[in-house]
């Protein structure tokens, strides 16, 4: 399970980096989204994978680390908001600069 998850995170990150390096704003936004998915999964896994364990510390019982879940919730909210913002910004740039190149033009 750990191996599968790490491969998924690595693949998502690689795709995200590739897309973020493209020249047009839409692939860049998608790339940022993929990278933020990857990092959310990564944060979640950092609490170690446990199945069927409650997120409450009790004596003698095993428990799932509740902190990464709180961290990842924060990270998801922030990255969701930022994705919305960067989509609007990309649309604004398309309207103001007349094209969707990240530099505002092929030669600019």
């Amino acid at each position: 399970m750990e191996a599968l998850l790490s491969i998924v995170i690595g693949f998502l990150t690689a795709c995200g980096v590739y897309l973020a390096l493209r020249g047009r704003t839409f692939p860049v936004v998608l790339g940022l989204t993929l990278m933020s998915y990857a990092v959310n999964l990564f944060l979640f896994v950092m609490g170690r994978l446990t199945i069927g364990a409650p997120p409450i510390i009790r004596e003698g019982a095993s428990y799932a680390d509740p902190l990464p879940q709180a961290l990842v919730l924060t990270a998801i909210v922030i990255s969701f908001g930022m994705t919305a913002f960067v989509v609007i910004l990309a649309l604004l740039a398309r309207a103001e600069l007349g094209n969707d190149h990240v530099d505002g033009g092929e030669n600019g």
């Binding site: 940022l32 990092v39 990270a75 990255s79 600019g108």
Partner: protein
């Protein structure tokens, strides 16, 4: 020592921001005065904080009264208090300038401005790595809005680069934070510092990677070469009060580097001690050189000011890279100087740009200005400070840094780079001054003369700079005390980790 004062610099701008949102469409005078009042009050709070930590105590505030490694803490030591005070003074000047018209359309400007202050103060006062991320996001989100404020193609293009780069930075930050949590099981910086000293040998490589990843993120914020390329566009095209306020933004990155460098990877960190040491000084010197080339090649005064911010970020990190409490103290003095001087130059560039009509602040010969002598005088004052000429604060800052590098292995490089680039910066500023004030193009038409009141904020900033010279002795001593406190993190650790509900003084 538990103290409620520590959270006031966060609550004040946050509350002001919320009230500004609620005020909505009410009279602009009311909203502007509320924003100004809150910012001025922040100076008083920051001064009180500075006095309280002046005796070397580390103030801790536990949110919800949860004890340290489990709950979230805010920590104020000398360094954090200095940073909050600098931010408050700078913000007051930027706010004073913005209400003269730079905040149009001002419906959202002051809300974002207050939230930016909330994020900045939070980043300086937090004692928790994940909250550092959260406060970085708060100040960045506010800064995206402020940067794009007013619109226009150039601003949007620069803004897009800025936003995308910082989003990538945030993602890297989360990777680093996740790795550290996964290996060490804590995110409290004091707790991290203790656990980093006893890392299992098989984890050393991963921890080192996470630490350097954090360094990359902070270097992006601090505009350290080769991650400085976003800065000139973003700062050079935004509105003047925002650019002035952003003068503190690169210092947030420098502050984070200094904090992490001294607390987590300090001399007590065992095999991880001095993790950033081999990188910081060379990269900082390269930044100074790269920034100076930009200063020489700039076409507009605001662009030149933006490149000067790069130079100052490099100089500041040079001081931190030299290492040792003397260099840290010199760096802190230089930090205060350069923040105010850069902000003053941005504001002056805007005043000049408006007075010069069609030539704006481009560095070409322009019209004869109606109040040219006054403007030229202010420019001379600020340029002398920025260029590091005696007797102004820039000279003292650079002199302290050079003195701190004496006898250190990097000394020839520090001397060579800082002295040659200072000369080049002075030449570039002299050229700008000549073009702006002395070379008159008879055909060009000046717009309405600059209002004297517009010069108020840059002049106040310049006067603060002169104050830095007059009180250089006590300020440097305070910086030295802060640096010594940094280099002996024992007090910090004890205050954070042992402060229970009743409050245990270190």
């Amino acid at each position: 020592m538990m103290s409620h004062l520590v959270i006031v610099p966060l609550l004040l701008p946050l509350l002001a921001g919320i009230i500004l949102v609620l005020l909505g469409k009410s009279a602009s005078t009311l909203r502007r005065s509320l924003s100004l009042f809150s910012t001025l009050l922040l100076i008083a709070v920051a001064l009180e904080l500075m006095l309280r930590v002046g005796d070397g105590s580390v103030l801790v505030y536990q949110l919800g009264n949860w004890p340290a490694p489990f709950g979230i803490v805010l920590v104020a030591d000398r360094l954090a208090a200095i940073m909050v005070l600098i931010t408050a003074i700078l913000a007051a000047c930027a706010a004073i300038y913005s209400v003269r018209g730079g905040d149009q359309p001002e419906r959202n400007f002051h809300i974002l401005f207050q939230l930016q202050l909330f994020g900045l103060n939070g980043a300086f006062l937090t004692g928790d790595l994940f909250n550092l991320f959260v406060f970085f996001e708060v100040l960045l989100i506010a800064s995206y809005g402020l940067l794009l404020h007013g619109g226009g193609p150039e601003r949007i293009r620069a803004g897009l680069h800025y936003v995308v780069l910082n989003l990538v930075g945030s993602i890297l930050f989360l990777f680093a934070v996740g790795t550290l949590y996964g290996l060490l099981g804590t995110l409290n910086m004091a707790d991290l510092a203790q656990r980093l000293a006893n890392v299992a040998p098989q984890d050393l490589g991963v921890v080192r990677a996470a630490g350097l990843l954090l360094f990359v993120v902070f270097a992006l914020k601090a505009a350290l070469a080769p991650l400085h390329l976003w800065l000139p566009g973003a700062y050079g095209y935004t509105s003047a009060p925002v650019a002035a306020m952003f003068a503190i933004m690169t210092k947030v990155g420098a502050y984070a580097i200094l904090r992490v460098h001294s607390l987590m990877f300090g001399p007590d960190a065992g095999p991880l001690a001095g993790l950033l040491q081999p990188w910081l000084l060379p990269l900082a010197l390269i930044t100074v050189v790269a920034g100076t080339v930009g200063v020489l090649a700039s076409q507009r005064l605001s662009q030149q000011a933006a490149y000067l911010v790069v130079v100052s970020a490099g100089t500041l990190l040079t001081a931190f890279g030299i290492g040792g409490s003397e260099a840290f103290a010199a760096g802190l003095y230089y930090l205060a100087h350069t923040t105010f001087a850069a902000a003053a130059l941005f504001l002056l560039a805007d005043v000049l740009g408006r007075a010069r009509g069609a030539t704006h602040d481009r560095l070409v010969s322009g019209p004869e200005l109606p109040s040219g002598q006054l403007l030229a005088g202010v420019f001379l004052l600020i340029a002398l400070a920025v260029g590091g000429m005696p007797p102004l604060s820039g000279f003292i800052g650079k002199w302290l840094i050079l003195q701190a590098s004496m006898g250190q292995p990097g000394m020839p490089w520090v001397f060579g780079v800082l002295l040659v680039t200072s000369l080049l910066v002075i030449m570039a500023l002299a050229r700008s001054g000549t073009l702006l004030f002395l070379k008159i193009d008879e055909g060009a038409i000046a717009s309405a003369p600059a209002r004297a009141a517009d010069l108020g904020a840059p002049l106040v900033l310049a006067l603060v700079g002169i104050g830095l010279v007059v009180y250089a002795g006590p300020l440097y001593e305070f910086g030295q005390a802060a640096a010594i406190q940094l280099s002996q993190p024992g007090n910090y650790l004890a205050a954070v980790l042992q402060s229970t509900a009743g409050g245990v003084s270190p």
